[in-house]
Subunit: 169 residues, 2 copies
């Protein structure tokens, strides 16, 4: 068990190209369910989700980001929001959104799917909210693009561990 979890963490990659196979609705629910098991400050559970598979809406959303080809090629998008009526601390709630998204990405890989965290789309968050017909109550945190990976040869890298550990006391 130990190794499988840590291996999954190390082997997760951002998948940006997908086949045209649709994602089962149950899998999308499973991914969101993994998301909500993230920790949150005071267990306030501030995350909200919009699941998008509709081709026309995906096309509209593709115009809101530099990465339109990913949005167009994905079989599903999950827009992650913070509920302004629930949040309590701007830093901790955004951190919790990050923990939630990481769970979602790990769950996608565990379901033989793949995903990529789209942050650049935040530059047009008002436009995204308009397309999704969301009220001001919900603040866009990120969009996750999902699909069946077209290939698995993504490379990534990290600096050496010693670069990150500043001190051991």
């Amino acid at each position: 068990m130990a190794n499988k979890i840590i291996k999954a963490i190390h082997e997760r990659r951002s998948r940006r190209e997908f086949t045209d196979k649709a994602i089962a609705g149950d899998d999308l629910q499973e991914i969101v369910r993994a998301g909500i098991w993230a920790p949150s400050g005071l267990n306030n559970q501030p995350w909200r989700f919009v699941i998008i598979t509709d081709a026309k809406i995906r096309e509209e959303l593709s115009a809101t980001t530099h990465y339109s080809h990913i949005v167009l090629g994905a079989q599903a998008l999950i827009a992650v929001f913070l509920d302004s009526e629930v949040v309590y601390d701007p830093v901790k709630d955004q951190q919790s959104a990050g923990a939630c998204i990481q769970n979602m990405l790990l769950a996608a890989e565990a379901l033989s799917l793949g995903g990529v965290w789209l942050g650049q789309i935040l530059k047009k968050k008002e436009q995204v909210c308009q397309i999704l017909d969301m009220s001001d109550r919900y603040e866009l945190a990120a969009v996750v693009a999902l699909g069946h990976p077209a290939h698995y040869d993504q490379k990534s890298n990290r600096k050496d561990l010693n670069h990150f550990i500043l001190k051991t006391l």
Copy 2:
């Protein structure tokens, strides 16, 4: 594999009481290594870490939070920072810190350890930085308290999945 990863995500709990068994140095490194495999915007890898096992420093840190009993009872603390010379977007970098911390907590559980994410300590972050002798360059994001769990009967709850999914389009 699929089920094991998702099961691990669902079964992670905040562990707040620990035995007095020390944590192996290799395990602490493994936990940080899991953290740095989080995604970050532009792969900027903004996280930095201070690993603390020294009893005197843990005692000093315990005075900086409401949760001093957790800090005192933990066998190790990992303080997570963002490097101000590397960050590029306040929202995305804090989200990435959250993804990093979630990886660390999942890795801890996978190593038969347990941990809890301490956010309340941010109220005294200047004092924490002073105790750890950190320059202004590093901004405290959270402290993770770690140990061998004294028990495994922690309960948690989440609202129903439908509460979180606002729309399916």
